[in-house]
């Protein structure tokens, strides 16, 4: 028996009833429609974990909320290790009505959507689906969850929606596909050389994707004494200024580690916010 001969997909000209391409396009359209009243979407990223990116995101969000009349939102895109909801004192449950899912309201009036609000305390991110061959679909499922956080949450009118990205660059790729109008990214590093190398990779990836690099925040840039306010070294290195120079972007702020009872805390965080606000497109 010889090879079977038949027409190919393109040669069969009837309708593709599934229209998977159109369904995906409709999903993108829903994201676009939902963000129509958001003036700018800005991602906060770092190639490295543990640099305090979520702390910086929450601090900037609270600060901007005092200066931006239409409001500020935070989408915690770190699905596996979400912390931004807690840092902003946002609590669930999330209310659903005919308009979509309403975000939680955190401190300063910042609206928040985070896995933190949906998972049991201390529980890892887990999906109900069969565990076998999870590696095949897990990334797709998480990209779908990010899309739903963007498209199905009633963000309303906002001056800025901050996206707190997880370490690495995978989620940035998902985000740039879903939000082609992304206004830019702020990179967060700590002073160390290890952090510089890791964050450089992430910034290069963002630049390759055509995403505007707004600037760099160097976190844990020294230790601020709670009594006298003097800054003592905490990490060796100057990753913030080196990254800023490499990419030709501003070093937005050197944020020292601040003890919780530091009297300088409000002023320092205010200065961080002012610097970021001035750099926002």
């Amino acid at each position: 028996m010889g090879p079977v001969s038949f027409r190919t997909y393109r040669e069969v000209t009837g309708d593709d009833r599934s229209q998977l391409g159109e369904q995906v396009a409709a999903q993108r359209e829903r994201v676009h429609d939902r963000l129509r009243d958001v003036t700018r979407v800005v991602a906060i990223m770092s190639g490295k974990g543990g640099v305090g990116k979520s702390f910086v995101t929450a601090a900037i969000a609270r600060g901007l909320a005092r200066r931006m009349p239409r409001g500020v939102g935070v989408l915690d895109a770190d699905l596996s290790s979400p912390t931004t909801g807690r840092l902003l004192d946002a609590r669930g449950p999330l209310r659903i009505d005919e308009h979509g899912v309403h975000p939680a309201r955190g401190s300063g009036g910042v609206v928040v959507c985070s896995m933190d609000l949906l998972l049991e305390d201390g529980a890892p991110l887990a999906w109900r689906e069969p565990a076998s061959e999870r590696f095949v679909w897990r990334g797709t499922l998480e990209a779908g969850a990010l899309r739903e956080f963007l498209a199905d949450v009633v963000w309303g009118e906002l001056d800025v929606l901050l996206i707190d990205l997880p370490p690495g660059t995978d989620r940035l790729d998902d985000l740039t596909e879903l939000v082609p109008t992304l206004a830019g990214v702020i990179a967060v590093t700590i002073p160390s050389e290890e952090s510089r190398r890791s964050v450089e990779r992430a910034m290069r990836r963002a630049a390759q994707a055509g995403v505007r690099l707004i600037g760099v925040v160097e976190n844990m840039s020294g230790y601020a004494c709670a009594r006298c306010g003097a800054i003592a070294p905490l990490h060796e290195g100057s990753a913030g200024s080196m990254l800023a120079e490499t990419f030709g972007v501003p070093l937005l702020y050197r944020l020292p580690f601040l003890p919780g009872d530091s009297a300088d805390r409000p002023a320092v965080l205010d200065a961080l916010t002012a610097s970021c606000l001035a750099a926002l497109p």
């Binding site: 079977v4 038949f6 027409r7 997909y9 069969v12 009837g14 593709d16 009833r17 599934s18 229209q19 998977l20 369904q23 995906v24 409709a26 999903q27 669930g92 449950p93 999330l94 209310r95 659903i96 009505d97 005919e98 979509g100 899912v101 609000l117 949906l118 998972l119 049991e120 305390d121 529980a123 991110l125 887990a126 999906w127 109900r128 689906e129 069969p130 076998s132 061959e133 095949v136 679909w137 897990r138 797709t140 499922l141 779908g144 969850a145 899309r147 739903e148 956080f149 199905d152």
Partner: protein, 148 residues
């Protein structure tokens, strides 16, 4: 995705989609020329991959529910969401299971909204949190909705 009846060199027509509830999914196609019918059977991994994309084989006939993927697949805390859509008296709106959504999708579009509302009201009145095909069967029997 298109299915071709090689014997007839004719594109097959999508008939229906089924989810037997074991993590797999099936779609039936028929050739209008020779009457041959085939079923495409997807294993759990393939089924999950399609569902992860948030798309429906055979086309989407119902608008997606808010956070359909997250609410359907995430192991979430109890009461993570409060569904208040359409209910002004504080009662929780029931969720349609995947299987019941499949069945609802087969209802003609011009009456689908009314049928969905009837099932929802039936479930709300009885405090049923999730509408499954079994609930739909009971509702049809009790409300005299045979054929919907």
């Amino acid at each position: 995705m298109k299915f071709l009846c090689i014997e007839c060199d004719a594109q097959m027509r999508f008939e229906e989609r089924q989810q037997p509830g074991d993590g797999t999914f099936a779609a039936a196609f028929a050739c209008d020329r020779c009457g041959r019918r085939i079923a495409m059977l997807a294993n759990p991994m393939e089924t999950q991959l399609v569902e992860s994309l948030g798309v429906k084989i055979g086309g989407r006939t119902l608008e997606p529910e808010p956070m359909e993927i997250v609410r359907g697949a995430l192991v979430a805390r109890e009461g993570a969401f409060v569904d208040e859509s359409g209910l002004s008296d504080g009662r929780v709106r029931p969720r349609f299971s995947d299987e019941s959504q499949e069945r609802l999708a087969r209802v003609p579009s011009f009456v689908r909204g009314m049928v969905k509302r009837l099932y929802t009201e039936y479930a709300v009145e009885r405090g049923i949190a999730e509408i499954t095909p079994d609930v739909m069967d009971r509702a049809r029997s009790e409300l005299g909705l045979e054929g919907m």
